[in-house]
Symmetry: C2
């Protein structure tokens, strides 16, 4: 069979990784795919820049539209990122009946509903394994491997930068700002780290995972998103003493009244496998009715790890492109006409457990006041400890409480009441807690 | 589209699980698959037995051949087990141009080469995700998710019974025989536990994983297999003190001179994620050149966990059955004409580290004798401790040595020499050790 001709948009880290993997493993890959895969064309911003990959036989263009319009290209691999140029080029490629492989989570999370419709109308595939969890085949596993299951919830460490920072804070007792600076030096974090540390990147990925898990439309704007920039090392330490690790999780859950979609720091028991996923590594834990818990672990970013997913998608497209378009694996796991727009719950309506920390004046009666407010709100307590403050400049003691499950609006009301107590100084620290059991 | 009609061979634990999952999740599954999947026929040994699943609209036969020959059946799901009746029925189904889904690791490991050839000649698919790792989509992940990679090695906890026994021995300081008896009571182990505790079941599964990872023929007879029945709680305890857990691993590795295929108890550092996979759970760690390490975790057995993989395979077959047979995912990941018969190394030629324990008379000079024998064989020592014997009836002390990597035949020669020392009583305990790094 003739080789498949691939055009790449963007030869940055992942683009060069893709070129390198395809070049190095070309024999292994074509032994699997049954035909050769060649990169014939690439669009780059700077035609003369030095690159970390061989460019033999690759025609360079300065305009992504040239690749999207190139008659010789069967599959367009979009690795530009962002949602402007990438969006236009992907649309153009689809209109030209080219299949698309992309690592662009923002593009899929924000424009996926429209792009998948356009792809369907044009009989082409958009593959996006690399958009979530880097090289971990999590999209394939959820969409195909677990297709027999009703999925109940999933929880993922899906941003390596945030996980690296939290791991360092725990293992070395360092401050957030200190580790962030190091992560930026190491290249794990961008100069503007907002997307990673404020949870936006994780929210993009969670949007995609939730759609595939539950058969709902992509709706990024409804993800409740909190980052890790407010996490103090004190809380990391107290959590550890109580047997919990703080991880930045993306959580999607099928609740009685709708779907929970939330990204936030979370205490999880340190005996759980996912609590021991450290450094820049990613993992997604999925709870499904037939199979029970399954977990998928690997590198969530990086040049060749992401390229691994990009190239696997290319091989998948090669295998599927000649098949009946109506009988392919649907983009979002469920057939387009059976996507159901389930309500996404407001954070007020989610139910979970909480870690609370209050700075209080060390006087008799304070604990009684706090616990009675919780009792009035029907919030039961799992654990309760009092700590001498590690903050040098104050005499307060720290009261740490782990609650049992309650509705968030109820918890918030009790927190407001506690903050009104004269013995309580400042705001309470509130971190959600998940046991990740069935 | 018309429903797909499935015939099941065997309505035992997994067969009933499959019926139950398909019945309970039929809406969810057809929203994914784009068409209905119906079980129309089943072969059972005892037509009148009471079963834990609804049998409405399922025609029962007493002969598997009836299902394999039934004109109304598109896909035959083989859940009989064993390699006699199952082998004949699967061959018959293939000759009748029916696709086959099976959970039968022995059948694939022993007869897969022949069956895949027969399937190819008849234009049908044999799907066998459920044969390894129960509900974990490990076959799909290796075969499709990692298709861009050159796989370097994989190491799997692929027998839940053995892992349950080792976990209990470690966590509760119990003896092998004691835990085995409990596992039999709980239904985790068969009345004849040989397949599980002597590693045969794991060797079947490793055979399959290795073929898919490296593109080599299935060759069960070449797997070097050791079970866990000789593991003493003393060694589990000493290993733990040194920072290692003993796990029963199936290991396939691409070495310089060929492929290592081995199943045996293995010390692994307790900081590794896979070292913390406990109880009946399974996990496979894969090291590949582009993506690095990835790990897949879940239930390796059980009614609905296995059914999850069976039904996912049925959905996959439904999606692929209308496509060009020459463009499907190859059964063993690599195109049949590019399977390469790489040499499988003899155990003498593998290279790894070792845990050694010697019972020695507590006299000056013993340690010097032992270490000089190791030095003569160029074996370096990672750690060395001496323990008072916990065995009541002897005055010996226990010498525990962790070695660095060496060739097994070299290690064995040094062990023979050490056993010849007059101060050393009986045989040395020798357990292989893997660090599972790149």
């Amino acid at each position: 069979m003739n080789p498949i001709r691939v055009g790449i948009l963007g030869l940055g880290t992942v683009g060069c990784g893709t070129v390198n993997v395809l070049a190095r493993n070309k024999e292994e890959i074509s032994r699997r795919a049954g035909r050769k895969i060649e990169i014939c064309e690439a669009a780059v911003r700077d035609l003369t820049a030095k690159r970390d990959c061989p460019l033999d036989n690759i025609k360079l263009d300065s305009d992504p539209m040239q690749v999207a319009n190139s008659p010789g290209v069967h599959i367009v691999v979009e690795l530009i990122g962002g949602t402007t140029l990438a969006y236009e080029a992907v649309k153009q490629a689809i209109k030209n009946h080219k299949h698309v492989v992309t690592a662009n989570k923002a593009l899929i999370a924000l424009h996926g509903n429209e792009l998948f419709k356009l792809a369907q109308d044009n009989g082409v595939i958009i593959a996006f394994e690399a958009a979530v969890g880097g090289g971990i085949p999590i999209i394939k596993s959820l969409r195909e491997g677990l297709s027999a299951n009703r999925i109940q919830w999933l929880a993922g460490i899906i941003n390596g930068t945030a996980n690296f920072i939290l791991t360092e804070m725990k293992d070395k007792g360092r401050d957030f700002a200190d580790v962030l600076a190091e992560a930026q030096e190491l290249g794990y974090a961008e100069a503007d780290p907002t997307f990673d540390v404020e949870g936006i990147d994780a929210a993009h990925k969670l949007t995609i995972l939730a759609s595939i898990a539950f058969g709902i439309p992509l709706q990024f704007s409804k993800v409740a998103t909190e980052g890790i920039s407010t996490i103090e090392k004190l809380d990391v330490e107290y959590a550890a003493e109580l047997g919990y690790n703080i991880k930045h999780l993306g959580i999607a859950r099928r609740a009685a009244d709708g779907i929970e979609l939330r990204v936030h720091p979370t205490l999880i028991p340190d005996t759980r496998l996912i609590a021991n996923v450290n450094g820049v590594m990613n993992a997604v834990l999925v709870m499904a009715d037939a199979v029970g818990p399954t977990l998928y672990y690997g590198a969530g970013a990086g040049s060749e790890a992401t390229a691994s997913a990009v190239v696997a998608d290319v091989v998948d497209v090669v295998r599927t492109m000649t098949a009946d378009p109506d009988n392919r694996v649907p983009h979002l796991a469920f057939q387009p006409d059976s996507i159901v727009d389930l309500p996404i719950l407001d954070m007020d309506d989610i139910e979970t457990s909480y870690y609370l920390r209050a700075s209080v004046v060390d006087k008799p009666g304070v604990l009684a006041h706090i616990t009675s407010i919780l009792a009035e709100h029907n919030i039961s307590i799992e654990a309760f400890t009092q700590k001498d403050s590690r903050q040098m400049d104050q005499d307060d003691v720290q009261v740490v409480i782990l609650t049992h499950k309650t509705r968030e609006q109820n918890l918030n009301k009790s927190v407001d009441k506690i903050e009104e107590l004269t013995e309580v100084n400042g705001k309470l620290v509130k971190i959600r807690m998940e046991h990740l059991k069935r």
